[in-house]
């Protein structure tokens, strides 16, 4: 499965992304399961709001963290996310 650069990306309505105060981290919640996220993964997923395509997500994150060269890392993570059903495209 790979990310289609021409389509927007949205977080799956079958999952919930939530900040956990006790754990001090974001988590993905789904039926009887939970994935703990590191900060960069959580930042990427928060950009998946159904309005942005891949290049916009990369541009926005590079701007937010005042850096460049994130495209490969972000694409690789989004492919994992797509395979796990955390995000959707269409």
């Amino acid at each position: 499965m790979s990310i289609n650069p021409d389509q927007t990306i949205k977080f799956s309505p079958m999952h919930r992304l939530q900040w956990e105060e006790v754990q001090q981290k974001d988590v993905i919640l789904y039926p009887e399961g939970m994935v703990e996220l590191n900060q960069s993964s959580a930042e990427i997923l928060k950009m998946c709001d159904g309005t942005r395509k891949l290049d916009q997500i990369v541009a926005d994150l590079e701007q937010k963290f005042a850096t460049t060269g994130l495209v490969n890392d972000i694409t690789a993570f989004l492919e994992v996310a797509l395979k796990n059903g955390w995000i959707q495209q269409n």
Binding site: M1, P13, M14, R16, Q18, E20, V22, Q23, V27, L29, Y30, P31, E32, G33, M34, K83, G85
Partner: protein
């Protein structure tokens, strides 16, 4: 052991709220205790709300509303709403019995995240026989309605000797019903399943064939349906990492308010499991004798104590060790290193002999009459 303060205590993540032991079904592998009928009292709404609030504050985030049949509690929508306000991810674990479209909508509005519907078999005749109640058609309707109203739907089928031959049809049914997740739960032999083990435990050949079919299906539906396969530990040679380690992750509250490190733990002797009416969740989790009993590794005997896998499986399941060897400190007999490992083969042989006998005894169904008779 009790009172030890050397162990780093992690906060609970999972809260299983067994709201009631009442259930219209009579499944002969029910995980409720055999003597459930003697526990008549149930926590009231305010007790449950307090428990949910306290456990959430400690870090619990996954919440299972279970039973018995949780739908028999009139205050379920109110508890669901309270859970949502606190930020839990709420799972309703139900037989589907008594679930209507109106209730499905109402629970969604209250903030329920997911509904897990159990089906006992892929045919009406066998489903209704195992459930002890006419329920098959209704369960299928409920599964459709769960999907219709936008919930992720988990279909749960408990696998045993009576239905294991239906594996291909069970998989087909899950696909037809549009399940997002299919839980194929090989029976774990506690509670009622322990009593009925000779009639429920399949042969190794049956297991292997069913697993092969399920694995092939898993690849076919990858990306559409996720399959949770609960392994049949009698045919493994290492025990399961039960509860992810005692008192590390899971907290069960029984209908009468007794707090348990796992849902079978009330069968273990001498734990003095505390009640939420007497103590806060924080006191129970951190300080109680029951929750500290098998925390860490100090309680272990040989072969566990010197085993290089003890941090992986924690010696297996304490309830299984007790049920099968009479010693809750012993290695789980499933482990091939266990001195009691032969009891597993004896159980397998006994079940096979029962299957081949002409006069196989009948299943003992889970109901109040049998509960009182057996306890």
């Amino acid at each position: 052991m009790a009172g030890s303060n050397k162990i780093n205590i992690t906060p609970p993540r999972w809260l299983l709220a067994e709201l009631t032991y009442a259930c219209p079904l009579q499944c002969p592998y029910c995980s409720n205790p055999i003597d459930y009928a003697k526990y008549q009292s149930e926590l009231d709404t305010e007790d449950w709300k307090r428990v949910l609030t306290q456990a959430r504050k400690m870090g619990a985030v996954q919440l299972g509303f279970s039973g018995g049949e949780p739908l028999t509690r009139k205050d379920l929508p109110e508890l669901v709403k309270h859970a949502r306000d606190l930020g839990y991810y709420s799972n309703l674990i139900t037989s589907g019995y008594g679930l209507t479209e109106e209730k499905i909508i109402h629970l969604k509005e209250a903030g329920l995240d997911h509904i897990q519907v159990s089906i006992q078999a892929s045919s009406q005749e066998l489903n209704d026989h195992i459930a002890g109640t006419t329920s098959f058609q209704h369960k299928k309707e409920v599964a459709h309605l769960v999907k219709k109203h936008g919930y992720p739907m988990v279909l749960c089928v408990v696998i045993h000797r009576e239905n294991i031959h239906q594996m291909p049809q069970i998989l087909e049914m899950a696909e037809e019903l549009g399940a997002d997740y299919l839980e194929l739960a090989n029976t774990q032999y506690y509670g009622w399943a322990h009593t009925n083990r000779d009639l429920l435990l399949p042969t190794k050949e049956q297991f292997e064939q069913a697993e092969q079919i399920a694995q092939a299906f898993k690849e076919k539906v990858a990306g559409k349906m996720k399959i949770y396969y609960v392994v049949p530990d009698f045919y493994e040679d290492r025990p399961k990492a039960c509860m992810n380690g005692w008192g590390t992750t899971f907290l069960t509250i029984a209908p009468d308010g007794v707090a348990l490190p796992c849902h079978s733990a009330r069968e273990l002797p001498g734990l003095d499991c505390p009640n939420v009416k007497d103590y806060s969740i924080e006191q129970i989790w951190n300080e109680s004798k029951a929750f500290n009993f098998f925390r860490g590794f100090e309680w272990m005997k040989e072969p566990c104590n010197s085993c290089d896998e003890k941090e992986k499986d924690f010696g297996g399941c304490r309830c299984q060790a007790y049920l099968l060897s009479g010693d809750m400190y012993a290695a789980d007999p499933v482990c091939s290193k266990s001195l009691n490992h032969h009891v597993i083969q004896e159980a397998i042989d006994s079940a096979k002999a029962s299957a081949l006998a002409n006069n196989e005894k009948p299943l003992i169904f889970r109901n109040s009459k049998n509960s009182k008779r057996l306890s």
